[in-house]
């Protein structure tokens, strides 16, 4: 389906990442924002609120992040595409409701504008320290889709993507941005509504009395209905059967929870997206995501100029992790360099999928941050000069 014109601000604009995220949401058809203010995510809400009346969207500022996501889940069941936006401490508070969203299979989008943690950390400075939290932060088993934009344009594009994934698989989807991309102002081109593809909610179309809220289609995704249509369905965070009624046996746990994993794991090839630069002949591959990948492009160019065959793999979807592609590259390349604005998160996934085929160098959040291209260049140089194979992650200080 094509996007609803009402939300699409077609044209070329200078926007920061946060504003672009709000525009992306409106273009994707998001009509409800549950929010609680937290630096550095404020402009998403401000933009959304300013535009809400003319687009016909609603919003509410709740009393905390816990209730913000709770309200989003409730709103999603009314048939409105819904989202919330937050930063580290707020994301931690949302962890319980992320699990509820998974269990109720409620489509929604959570935008996390990462700043330095743990605790309050440095609220105005960029970091990528919540990447593993997005995947593992709620209790129990689940799979998630997480996208990492690296520019305001991508904030717009990926936000639409996020809504589409959330509707297709009936899952909460995370946009893992950071303070750097969020504050960065660049030109954002918003295409006409008829050029934006929107995934519509997969509605149940059968007879009212035979509706089962968790009866799965072949791809393990159950069709949904809105409230107020006379279905009078029941959903619960407890382990449940097709009717949504709780059953407390291990058979039901298997019946309920295993497909929650499958619906994402089986669709990995359809979800995973990467962007590659010069990887064909690369000896050193830099794997990065989000803001860091901007500096990587520059470092790769400089490395090539100095005669090092460097290439880049940028993760558009960090979760699910592009396991196969990383393994292929590890086999071809001599070394992999992973710069991250944290002290080692996604590099662990790279190590796991490298199967010891290539040396893995990790460039942590340094004095100037892993987004600093000269540090990345130095890391590429060191990686290309190390000839013997090493086990484990080699951390560059």
């Amino acid at each position: 389906m094509k996007a609803d014109k009402a939300g699409v601000l077609t044209g070329s604009h200078v926007l920061n990442g946060n504003q672009a995220c709000a525009e992306g949401a409106l273009a994707a058809g998001c009509r409800f924002l549950g929010l609680y203010p937290i630096v550095p995510s404020i402009e998403v809400s401000e933009r959304f609120l300013a535009r809400a009346p003319e687009v016909g969207a609603t919003f509410i500022q709740m009393e905390d992040e816990i209730s913000a996501l709770a309200a989003v889940l409730g709103a999603s069941w009314t048939g409105k595409k819904s989202m919330t936006v937050t930063s580290g401490p707020g994301l931690s508070l949302m962890m319980e409701h992320l699990g509820l969203g998974i269990m109720l299979e409620t489509p929604c989008v959570i935008a996390d504008i990462q700043s330095v943690g743990p605790g309050l950390g440095l609220p105005t400075h960029a970091a990528q320290g919540d990447m593993m939290q997005a995947r593992w932060g709620s209790h129990g088993d689940y799979e998630i889709v997480a996208l990492a934009p690296s520019s305001p344009q991508e904030m717009f594009d990926f936000t639409i993507k996020a809504f589409n994934f959330s509707e297709r698989y009936r899952i909460p989807v995370a946009i893992m941005s950071d303070a750097y991309v969020a504050q960065l102002e660049e030109t954002v081109v918003i295409p006409p509504a008829d050029q934006i593809n929107i995934e519509t909610r997969r509605y149940y179309e059968g007879a009212k009395d035979s509706y089962l809220p968790f009866k799965r289609d072949k791809d393990f995704v159950p069709p949904m209905v809105d409230i107020g249509q006379g279905y009078r369905f029941h959903v619960t965070g407890l382990t449940h059967d097709d009717r949504g009624y709780p059953i407390m046996f291990e058979e039901c746990q298997e019946y309920n929870v295993h497909p929650l994993m499958w619906k994402v794991r089986n669709a990995v090839d359809k979800i995973v997206e990467v962007q590659e630069t010069n990887t064909d002949d690369a000896e050193v591959v830099v794997i990065s995501y989000g803001a860091t990948s901007r500096a990587v492009l520059k470092a790769i160019k400089q490395a090539r100029e100095s005669g090092i065959k460097a290439g880049g793999l940028k993760l558009v979807t960090v979760w699910p992790f592009p396991e196969k592609r990383v393994t292929e590259l590890a086999k071809k390349a001599k070394a992999i360099v992973v710069p991250e604005m944290n002290f080692g998160q996604i590099v662990l996934e790279v190590e796991r999928n490298g199967y010891g085929e290539a040396n893995i160098f990790f460039l942590p959040h340094g004095d100037k941050g892993a987004e600093y291209s000269e540090d990345i260049l130095a890391a590429i140089k060191r990686a290309s000069q190390t000839s013997e194979a090493k086990s484990g992650i080699i951390e560059i200080s």
Partner: protein, 295 residues
């Protein structure tokens, strides 16, 4: 005369069958628990208030009363502990035509959910909150609750409760609720009437239903079984409509004051929101600079 089981079944149809999930019976509540009575009163009120059940969404949290959403045949959500009001707020704001009911217990709504309770009341979100108060956390086995009277025993107050409890009607009124009533599950007719009135009200309405917990509260405090509790309510409830809510504290086995205490008008969240929206649309207050600087 011997009857066939089939006719038996026919005769035992629950009068509220159309509003209950009969395929989930029997329910999990213990014998002599009052939650079932509160549910009956609620379903009766729904009929009395003449509300189309298809337009009603019911949200529960966690706990014994948290299971209500699972037995009522409406669009029903069993959510997380303490957050049904927040979840319901999302439903009401995104879909103003929906009639939203939160049905949960005292621990869920007043302890972990206390913050959402006062904020929804402050905003005057149009919803009915039914709070079944049994003075204890029963689902987890009898821990002290924010409503447990002073000196009462619980598994986590083995030497007697030392914390003063919340006076729910007082908290609701001072936070901004437009309708506040309290009954016990003995007062089934009055409870039904209050629920009916509350359902017809626009704004944040709170009905507290005091319920016996024969399994934990009465047992730990040696108060007999559920029937003894009902007798206690019969002998010790005083009905005082319009009583100042600050006089409604409940002590351990003291008199319980019931009645309708608050019934007032305040613009609801949705009313204020729509008013704001129409102003913005006509005056265009926020039109300046909202489209981003085109360069």
């Amino acid at each position: 005369m011997m009857e066939t089981p089939k006719t038996d079944e026919k005769q035992e149809i629950h009068p509220m069958e159309n509003l209950l999930r009969m395929d989930r019976m029997p329910h999990i509540w213990c014998p002599t628990c009052g939650i079932g009575l509160a549910v009956t009163a609620f379903t009766a009120a729904l009929e009395k208030a003449n509300i189309d059940p298809n337009t009603v969404s019911i949200v529960s949290g966690i706990g014994c009363t948290g299971r209500v959403a699972g037995y009522v045949k409406l669009d029903s959500f069993h959510t997380t502990h303490g957050r049904p009001i927040a979840f319901a707020t999302g439903i009401k704001v995104a879909s103003p035509k929906t009639k939203v009911v939160v049905f949960s217990g005292d621990g869920d709504l007043m302890a972990i959910g206390g913050n959402h309770f006062i904020h929804a009341a402050r905003r005057n979100i149009d919803m009915l909150v039914v709070c079944v108060n049994n003075f204890i956390y029963a689902m987890t086995g009898g821990q002290v609750a924010p409503t447990t009277p002073l000196a009462a025993y619980a598994t986590t107050s083995p030497y007697g409760c030392v914390e003063p409890p919340f006076n729910i009607p007082y908290l609701a009124e001072s936070s901004g609720a437009v309708y506040v009533a309290r009954w016990t599950t003995l007062h089934i007719r009055r409870l039904t009437n209050s629920l009916t009135e509350a359902l017809q009200k626009t704004g944040f309405s709170v009905v507290e239903a005091i319920s016996p917990c024969g399994m934990y509260y009465s047992r730990i405090n040696r108060l007999g079984d559920g029937l003894d509790m009902m007798r206690f309510y019969h002998d010790n409830v005083e009905i005082r409509h319009g009583e100042d809510t600050k006089n409604l504290d409940i002590g351990f086995q003291t008199k319980i004051i019931c009645g309708k205490f608050v019934d007032r008008e305040r613009p609801s969240y949705n009313e204020r929101y729509n008013q704001w929206l129409s102003e913005v649309k006509t005056a265009g207050r926020h039109s300046k600079g909202q489209k981003g600087s085109k360069k």
